[in-house]
Symmetry: C2
Subunit: 489 residues, 2 copies
């Protein structure tokens, strides 16, 4: 099973339920192959469908051709002489090679990435933000977003007292473990599910007030477009968060890795950087901000390249230097990833040979996402016990599951039980979060839907079949759910 | 300047002399471009020659063709259909792709690397070690050796009291900073320059005795073949270290990244793992060991791919699991690097189409290294004040420089002054270490000599010219050195 596994889950090693299941394969890896084989040989299904992680190429989505062509040309420059690659891919590869030391992708680059690519990224940000200036010195290319986040937390959480960061709930599933590992206390602000997972100022105020005396948060982490919720913040909502950050003197740490995957009609990604710049003084020159983007999560979906970048705004020069020093620990980010970032930031233009294919591939990916999300949300909302907010962006849906209160004993975790059984019975692997605001019989599931539509239909079919079986088994308590009203296409 | 820079040095930011100069570019990056341009425009030389870092492709050494062909095929699989690549490269790429999730290098792999490649590595280790068993479960592929080392130190330095590791002096130039950053106390054992940088048991005993009361080392770090000294330990010397580790219950952390670059007649690399296994009980089943290897330093010289691996021997299952958990922080190592590791561990065989070219390329690299080392050691030994031990492996020479005692004021660091002036006057960038066992007028220089021979001649010419100018300027104290007896080819 790719990207993530559930071996601890399957081998019953008694993992804490607070540990997200989707990380368990990464933790143990080794027994999972056998487990997977065992599951794969089960009669009830042909192969495991992994909906827990955002690994689109594993799920069958093809890579963007142009980026692979440019990398192939840089890797094996003899290809630049023939016509195996389109002219613009050859030209791009030649240009990039001329900026790598020794003309080779086998050399180190600067710790923050090669200046040429940082410059491409800076230009693309400025273009995205309607001309708001961005300089390559503000761009730090990193080995991946996790690493970037880790470095930022190292820098930001060095103040006296208990290190703390304001974080949303729900949040990206890797965040809690990262904070725990770094000894950073999370100060949680709830996103409001009823209003489409909005960030609300009153809740931010409540959360920071509640932390007083216990810790002293100097940073607020924001995920926009939201992971795993799929909400997209409006300009007004962003302004509200910026004013809050300014009042409380918080550093804004903004995860914007899903900025290229907004697909809902009427939704638009606006960057924190742009909103901040357009708010003018006293905010624009004062509020400190770091925004993260990545090859893994965006339209590229190149998880295996392990590369992303951060843009720093209003950050003190001494802090910038300190971050650079921390980044030297990795010597330099992977060079192949830097090539892919150059293509992501500067795709083929109209009139260039690869423009048409590139544009079609990106549009097709967004259309797949849009259709799949719409189909999955509708389907799941029709299953008894489920409710799912609409989704504007990203690659996940995040439905809420409520089971009859008496269905489970208190010792059981709904999310753990449900996802374990779904995997064992039907070979569908999903992420989950327990719902701590209710009693023990609620949870959220996290399902990645970026996959070919026939795979999605198969996953939904198995989920439906499992769901009614599960209800029969665990919820036969007098409360009954209605029969299935829908059929799989 | 690629890979490393000296901007702080040039901009006079008052870096501590204890910080190795070769890391300074990685720290500041930004001003270095201008500095470099200024230096490049100097009339006295055409371009900067960077001998400080082990970045062979920057220095003009070409990559191994087969590895680039396999990566190009994996990256852009359409190439696997034509005949742009030799059949064995196509076959290898197809095989590898079939083991990546979704058949793509864009997917995540397990955190320790894809099992297929771990298996290839394990087989190659067993072959290298005359059949001593190695299982893929013992192999952890990591984002790079620095990261592997950091993770190991995290695991090994969690005991009560002050965390300490026995480390050699001299050591790889990045080690001191890594230990400092991780709060680990170095317990230094001196390598004996007079006897070819040997590791001596009496010195190990002295060092650990001297640490008593101050800290409690549980780990000994070994660099074999030695970086930057180029010595290769004999089987007897390794047995001696293993006995010492067993007696003192130390974990053996062995940096063996230069195992493929032993070129001296009569020298042979023998792994710690093999010696340990062949010593039998009570050692073979008890002494814990981690050995590191890398794409950057070995015969591949692919620094930009950022990938290496560790082999663990006799390590407790719980510790193995903990290391895996730490590695999940990176999600997975770069996939391109995993492909290159597969090729490094399993190169083309006799009879296969790429065998001849691959073998020629590797042999040519070793021959260049051998000739360059021989030439550079002889040349430098003829310069007054220099003495250089013979070198059996690796890519550096590490000559000792002694200047007349009265030449410099006590406030001056010989290494810093000499290397700074060498860079500014002649555009040759070298690493250095102060010699703390003597007064202030001794140091060692670290020069990478893996480069085309004409580049080396140019570097030696500039060094010679600078050296006599420097002696005139700083050492006109009655003590005179003889005139140059040699000429550059």
């Amino acid at each position: 099973m790719k990207g993530e596994t559930q071996s601890c889950l399957l081998t019953g090693q008694g993992q804490k339920t607070s540990r997200d299941m989707s990380d368990l394969k990464k933790i143990t890896g080794r027994p999972s192959a056998e487990e997977e084989q065992r599951l794969n040989m089960s009669e009830s299904f042909r192969k495991i469908l992994d909906l827990s992680s955002g690994d689109s190429q594993n799920a069958g989505i093809k890579p963007i051709t142009f980026v692979r062509q440019v990398i192939a040309g840089c890797t094996y420059p003899r290809m630049l002489q023939g016509d195996a690659l389109p002219p613009d891919a050859r030209l791009r590869a030649q240009k990039l090679l001329s900026h790598f030391d020794g003309g080779s992708i086998g050399s180190y680059t600067e710790s923050c990435g090669v200046m040429y690519v940082r410059n491409t990224i800076a230009k693309s940000i400025s273009l995205r933000d309607g001309g708001v200036l961005c300089s390559p010195e503000q761009i730090f290319i990193t080995a991946d977003t996790q690493r970037a986040l880790m470095r930022m937390l190292q820098v930001l959480c060095q103040s006296e007292g208990v290190s703390a960061v304001m974080v949303p709930d729900p949040a990206p599933h890797t965040l809690a473990r990262l904070l725990e590992r770094m000894g950073v206390v999370p100060v949680t602000y709830q996103l409001r599910e009823q209003s489409g997972w909005s960030v609300e100022r009153a809740e931010l105020n409540r959360a920071i007030q509640a932390s007083r005396g216990r810790c002293f948060p100097r940073t607020i982490y924001i995920s926009n477009p939201g992971n795993p919720t799929g909400h997209v913040q409006s300009r007004e909502s962003i302004q509200d968060v910026i004013r809050f950050a300014a009042n409380e003197e918080l550093f804004l740490l903004v995860d914007e890795v899903y900025q290229d995957t907004v697909f809902a009609d009427g939704s638009e990604f606006v960057s924190y950087k742009r909103v901040l710049a357009e708010m003018g003084e006293p905010y624009s020159g004062r509020v400190q901000l770091a925004s993260m983007h990545s090859l893994s999560n965006g339209i590229m979906g190149e998880c295996g390249f392990r590369t992303g970048y951060m843009e720093m705004v209003n950050v003190d020069e001494a802090v910038m230097l300190y971050i650079e020093i921390l980044l030297t620990g990795d010597l330099c980010p992977p060079v192949i990833g830097q090539i892919a970032l150059d293509v992501m930031a500067d795709p083929p233009c109209p009139g260039e040979p690869s423009y048409s294919l590139y544009t079609r591939e990106v549009a097709s990916r967004l259309m797949t996402l849009k259709c799949n999300v719409s189909r999955a949300v509708e389907f799941i909302n029709d299953l008894p016990g489920f409710s799912c907010q609409s989704v504007q962006s990203g690659i996940f849906i995040y439905p809420h599951l409520t089971l009859p209160h008496t269905a489970l004993t208190h010792s059981q975790s709904v999310g753990l039980l449900y996802s374990r059984r779904l995997l064992e019975d039907q070979g569908v692997y999903v992420g989950f979060s327990e719902d701590h605001t209710h009693s023990g019989s609620c949870c959220h599931l996290r399902l990645c839907v970026l996959m070919p539509s026939d795979e999605l239909e198969e996953a939904l079919r198995r989920l439906q079949s499992f769901h009614f079986q599960f209800l029969k088994e665990y919820c036969d308590t007098g409360e009954t759910f209605s029969e299935p009203q829908q059929s799989v296409k």
